[in-house]
Structures are given as structure tokens and as C-alpha cells.
Symmetry: C2
Subunit: 199 residues, 2 copies
Amino acid sequence: MRRIGILLSGRGSNFVAIAESIASGRLDAEIAVVISNRAGAPGLEIARQRGFPTLAIPAQGREREAYDRVLIEALAQHGAELVCLAGYMRLLSNAFVQAFPGRILNIHPSLLPAFPGLDAQHQAIAHGVKIAGCTVHFVDEQLDSGPIILQAAVPVLDNDTAETLSERILKEEHRIYSEAIRIVLTGAYRKEGRRITCD
Amino acid sequence: MRRIGILLSGRGSNFVAIAESIASGRLDAEIAVVISNRAGAPGLEIARQRGFPTLAIPAQGREREAYDRVLIEALAQHGAELVCLAGYMRLLSNAFVQAFPGRILNIHPSLLPAFPGLDAQHQAIAHGVKIAGCTVHFVDEQLDSGPIILQAAVPVLDNDTAETLSERILKEEHRIYSEAIRIVLTGAYRKEGRRITCD
């Protein structure tokens, strides 16, 4: 297993970090296709410039399941074996999750289970935590809740805003996402309950 | 403000760490009294041996508010200005919290808001997090929910049990509790919403 399908909605900085890990030889994988629900997503343009197959699939009023069927079909056509969410701002249907069992990864800018959902860095600042971070996890049917593959911690500084904290977390995101993909692609892990440990 | 009242139910290792910080001159404070709801708590015996005023106040069927009134009275009699929970296994009544506004601290063995309540380290292992830690926070009317003063992170290792993780976290507890007490006693912090920052 080495062909990755990327889903993104925005600038896709985690996609770029993954592409660079592959280009530099640190990650043995291949980007099969980059798909966005937003035609104007900057990440899609970057993917085009880098010569990756890209697809814009706007929702156009389709219901979630119908949309996700199109998505599943597109990923299958490009031979994507592992799906990596990189700032993909749509909830996935159960049908999508079940179409790629144990083969969908997400990165979230908090130390889950703290601060799931939108604006995690802002939530962290408002809650007043002193340690923040990011999490790469398998995607299951609930939001930001699947088994955790890797996490990284960063300090929250007294003068941090959600923006400065986001930047600090993003550096760690770029580091651990590729590392987590490597773990999953090589299959060098075990799962006990929801606990993932490396072989 | 420098007189600390300690409440504990067990071995009170955080109490010992605080006492040692004071003895070594790292923390400018004084232990006014050590109180336990359990007469046989090992921490109470250690406090006696070290010459601190101690009190065992068993619940003896008293309701929470009635019990806490006895507790408030005992702390007041010993001139306790700051109350530090050190493994105190009873919920505090609102009346108690309101008797010491902004002057009750607790340490919890997780990176709150993750894993509040009992067996936090076991919860962390079962959830499969890769980063765990501990939190010193002001006590408010909800369980493990008040504004956070300090946190420390530790890695969760693949071969960790709740016990080995607890040991690693405990070392950090002993370090940050004294530091947080110092911050609160010197008043060198500001509070904005629930965010605490140091001056």
C-alpha cells in the first residue's frame, strides 16, 4: 500500500508537507490524486503546479451520501489506497468511512480528545491550557474521535494568540503527519482496543 | 499570603514535594495544617513525623456541606490562606469553594480538559493518547474544571501501563505544583476569562 488520495478544502499546507516528504525520499509513497470540494482551494492549484492529478468536486447541492459516493468513485479510479484529509472541511458520511476501513487519516490541531471540532487553537487559548498540540488519527464515524497514531505537544505562551499558536502547532503537524502515514503504509503497528502501538 | 492548608486522603506525595520545596527554600511558604478525611492516610503520618499540625476529620456520616463547614473552620483556626488539594478524594461543596475564593488549588494527573475525574492515567492509556501530563488549576464548583495555572506534558510509551505512566506523570506533578503555588502566593499572574498568564 503506497498510493495516497488527498482531500483538502483550503491551502493544504499538510498536503504540501506530505508531498515534500515523498519528494525528499523520507516517505515511500505516491500521491494518487488531490481532490477538493472547493474549486478555488489554493491547495488544488499547488497540486496542479506540482503535476499531481487533481479534481475539484463541488457539492452543488448534493446530499452528503450522494457526494461521498462520487468521492469514493474518484478515489478508486485513481487507485488511492490510503485517504489523507488535509484541511478537508466537510463531514464524511458513514458510507465513506466504511468504504476505506482503517485507511482514512486526519490531522487535527489539538491534543485530542481535548478540543475537537472547529477552531481548536482558539478553543485552547480560550480554555487557558498551557500545553497544546496536534493529533494524527484514524477517521471513524464520529468527529475527530478515531484511534490516535501520533501526537505532538507545543507550549502555549502567555502572549500567544490563536494565530501564533496555530503557527507553532502547524510546524509539528507537518512533521508528524508524514511520520504517521509511514507507520500506516508500512503496517508496522498494532491496535488494541483504540490504542495504537508501533511494532 | 503564605500559609498553606493541605487536604489529602492518601500517601500525599504532592504534599511531601511541597514540604520539600519549602524546606529547601525554593518556595517561600509555610504549611499551616495538614488535614485528611481518612485517619489512616499515610500522608497524615508523614506530616506528623515532620512536625506539621495535622487533623484527621472523618466524614462519619456527615453530609457534604456539614462536613465542609468543619473543614472550613479547621482551616481558618490554623490560619490557612491557600488550600492545596493533594490527592483529596472528596468532592468539595460550593460552600467550601466560596469560602476560599480563588484560593484553592488542585493537581490532576492529565492534561485537562482531557480525562477529568478518577483514574485519569488509566483513561489516557485506554484512549490511546501519545501525550499525557498533569495540570495545576484553581478549584471551582465543577470537577477538575477551574482555570489552569500550569501544565506539564510527558510522552506515553508503547509499553506503558497506567502504573508506569502514573510514575512519569508524578515526577512532573511534584515539580509544577510548587511552582504554581509560588505563582499564586506571589500574586504574579493575571486572569482574563479563564486564561491565567504570568506577569
